[in-house]
Symmetry: C2
Subunit: 554 residues, 2 copies
């Protein structure tokens, strides 16, 4: 038998989100990360998307554990659902472990998943998972305690960078551990899996320190309150704000449930420090003069139910915009959110706030490596095989291109899609198959695989609505027992279009009379109503509502 290592990305390739990758050697599998994807436009009504784990479920007895790189939603968000079906231990850096516990607690009742699954890990201490041995090493990202993985396999070392950038001056004082990476790589790297999110961007990503300096300047010079919107998981940004508050005699209140929860957890675990006790409650800041107040909120993506958006729309219970407020959107819109963010900024301006955002001030840097940093990692590790991960297809292609420029031959670089099975053996590497990796949609309180037809139906309904046509007839089909009833939504204002509806009713009765003596009578009128009424309404209105005939026989 040939010794082989299988590399199976189950999510995160060809998309930003729902990261998950399995490594398989004989009868051992380890899973790296288990994230969610936030729904894109067109995924109507979907709450979020998780990876398809049917491949793992079929081999549940082989899965030795899930190893987590860091605590962002696109890496841990699917855990409650994955653990429900696949109850295996989860090993995560301490902060991520804390965030996962918060998450599991939330879902405990509905999913029955206990937080005892979670084991915190520290960098530098290898753990065994069957024939795999995993050692975490520090990388810098937009959340503290982010790590890469050095995975020893019988075939050689696999390095997974996790999400990273090379920030020499990070807020938490823990830069990417390049010495460790060099040391780990000294005996050769079989396979490098590296973050591709910003592989199309030349140069270096800016340090979080740049944002710190900018926010500090804003806070130091603002005359009124300062409101800062960011991601609930951007723990480093919170520390920056706390430090700036302290330096400028201000106090900080956090708004938005997820942000408050995360601050509390991070304080308790020591990932945020507040030596001067500047953190206070939103109630308390009401009693302070405007120039002593900072409010930090969620909503940097214009999410309709977030604190910032409710504030911008004057719908927040505790906070409203006052003239003289400075609002900082300390984030960049995730592709797809631009319109929402732009509307929020406009509304804040309308309410009289001064608004600072990425286009006009350096109030955000992202957490992913640009090309020069990616090259450094490729250079330090000099991998035999390279698989770019974490990115849309073009990011992966871009990253592959960089690796090739740095000397990895074409045939050793694999731009994979979710579900591809890459097999590496002493004889070489190749894609040997494909496993289920279709997205699983979550919609509602229970876990549902949302059927594609349901999504298609929602799309059709969202365009021109529907018209239900009810006709009640005597069993056997001799007589119509009531005027056809028409119910419609999303099509036109029926009340203002009486005449149109009456004409439709006459058409329906005509169909009934014409079809009465035909065989397959009911089926026939259903088909004819669709055709005739649909055609009539299309001609009259130019719209194509879904026509649903409902023939009731009594």
């Amino acid at each position: 038998m040939i010794e082989s290592l299988k590399v199976i990305p189950l999510g995160g390739l060809g998309e930003i989100g729902k990261n998950m990758l399995a490594l398989e050697y004989h009868d051992d599998i380890i899973v790296i990360d288990a994230g969610v994807l936030f729904p894109e436009e067109g995924m109507l009504g979907v709450d979020f998307v998780i990876p398809d784990i049917s491949y793992l479920l079929e081999r549940a007895h082989m899965v030795r554990g899930i190893v987590i790189t860091h605590g962002h939603e696109d890496h841990i968000g699917a855990l409650p659902y994955v653990l429900r079906d696949l109850p295996v231990p989860v090993y995560a850096p301490r902060l991520a472990a804390g965030l996962i516990e918060v998450k599991l607690k939330e879902h405990r009742r509905s999913l029955g998943v206990d937080r005892d699954f979670v084991k915190p890990v520290d960098p530098g201490i290898p753990l065994n998972f069957g024939q795999f041995s995993v050692e975490w090493f520090r990388v810098c990202h937009s959340i503290p305690d982010a790590m890469g993985l050095a995975i020893n396999t019988p075939l050689g070392l696999v390095i997974h960078t996790g999400d990273f950038k090379i920030d020499y001056t990070p807020v938490d004082g823990n830069p990417t551990d390049l010495n460790k990476l060099a040391d780990l790589s000294k005996d050769g790297v079989l396979l490098l899996l590296s973050d591709s999110t910003y592989a199309e961007v030349p140069g270096y990503t800016k340090s979080e320190k740049v944002v710190g300096d900018a926010l500090e300047r804003v806070i130091a010079t603002a005359e009124g309150r300062v409101m800062i919107a960011s991601f609930a998981s951007l723990i480093s940004r919170m520390q920056v704000v706390i430090d700036a508050a302290q330096a400028n005699g201000r106090r900080v209140a956090f708004v938005g449930r997820s942000m408050v929860d995360n601050v509390n957890m991070a304080l308790k675990m020591g990932y945020i420090s507040d030596p001067a006790r500047v953190i206070t409650t939103i109630k308390e800041v009401g009693n302070l003069p405007a120039n002593e107040v900072i409010i930090m909120t969620t909503g940097s993506q214009g999410e309709p139910t977030s604190a910032l958006v409710r504030i911008a729309n004057d719908e927040h219970r505790e906070v409203s915009i006052m003239s003289g407020d400075t609002v900082v959107i300390s984030a960049t819109p995730i592709p797809g959110n631009e319109t929402l963010v732009s509307k929020t900024i406009d509304n804040l301006f309308r309410k009289g706030a001064q608004v600072l955002y990425d286009k006009i001030a350096t109030v955000h840097v992202h957490g992913h490596a640009s090309q020069e940093e990616l090259k450094l990692i490729l250079n330090l590790t000099s991998p035999r095989y390279f698989v770019p991960v974490h990115g849309q297809h073009r990011h992966l292609k871009s990253h592959a291109h960089l690796a090739n420029d740095l000397g990895t031959p074409h045939q050793n670089i694999f731009v994979l899609e979710d579900g591809d099975v890459l097999e590496i053996s002493h004889n070489g590497a190749s894609v040997v198959g494909h496993v289920p990796s279709g997205p699983i949609y979550l919609d509602g309180r229970r876990i549902w695989g949302l059927e594609n037809t349901v999504l298609d139906e929602r799309r059709a309904l969202s365009r021109d609505g529907f018209v239900v046509v009810n006709i009640t007839i005597e069993k056997g089909g001799a007589t119509v027992l009531s005027t056809p009833e028409i119910v419609s939504m999303g099509f036109i204002d029926i009340d203002e279009n009486d005449e149109l509806m009456n004409e439709a009713r006459i058409l329906i009765l005509d169909i009934f009379n014409e079809s009465q003596n035909e065989t397959d009578f009911v089926d026939n009128i259903v088909t004819k109503i669709k055709e005739v009424v649909g055609g009539f309404l299309r001609k009259e209105t130019g719209r194509r509502p879904v026509i649903i005939p409902m023939v009731v026989e009594v």
Copy 2:
């Protein structure tokens, strides 16, 4: 009576699109531009949005004409609809006039609007509209023959910049006519209306020449076919491509109906020249070697039915991607289109094309002035009053800020919203009222004002679908005549959820039995079915479909 000039923006303020502004003096009104807005996310099923012209319709006898600045859709797209209800002459620069005629011809049959309405104008020749006199002057924009307006009114000169940038090396050799503007302004400018689209961007906008150079390099070095996607209205970009084709021994085929129409019109009118006859048909390029082919298409915004997207999805009748193709997306995604564009790029990469786009190459520049250019215009005109136009609210605010920096006092700057009525007299200026300006949605072949409730209904349907519950009862309410029928779409796969539906049916019968003896019997069961069945399905599925009870009495 006080002599006063009314300035009434009817579209384009607080949004990018549907530009329209009315100037009114005594019983004369002129209208500047009549554009469409392409629907945003959330405007489900809407084809496009036009300005509300009810204010103009009420004063139709006063409207002396519509004056057009240039031929982009957001400035001329609403004309077919506006002219149907308000048949007044339209004065437009020659290329815009050509584009409008093409447009009116398309709609002639459905709207009955004749193209005789359109009068081409040249710069430098003032035309009278009642007490207004309008002179067009050249500005540079991403379409040839773009112009600003110098409007003489009894109260003083109004300058409207149109959409512009200050490109000293434009493709058509017609830079913004700064001398003319200086000359026009020498006796003082009462009011400046100036393009705010890029008012938040520091510095200067790059020249179209930069794109020309980049495209020329791409075309000169590509080994296979070159495919260039852009806007159908970007006439200058077409000339750039034709010139580069000629220089590199290639031929150009245009794909996409609107692009082909516009090329033909522009060739006929002399806005594009093809001395070496490099333009050919898509059929012909099939017979040429790959390195002699350029294909220029629509679809730079990822529009689902556009040529490029069909090509990327392998659904185009005449063109498919070959390995070795270079595809250039010569445009920037309009906010809201990022996801569509990104998907298209990914699909082109998957098919084996090399793709160049704004993030990785200078293959597009936009057509609007940045801050330094805006300052130049403010400086040349030194207006007494300033109204920033063409932009989202924050762009207008940003532009107002610039004007203030350059010396226009706060109280003379008006950041207006659509529908605001600004009145200027010898005594000063102030907002004196607000006229209807709500968006008019077009949806379908006929013109409809889409009621907001219909949009709300479509949103509700797009989230969790609907469930129609039919119960047929004897008149008077004594007996149920058939098992309740349930029809649903966009909710769950009913066929796979028989049991759930059966439970719902039992609930409905229970409601009937319990309510039978109540007064307002039918109303009561309608309300109860909504509550009980809605609550039941929510509890079971976590989803909240729209519940529509339909009680038929026979």
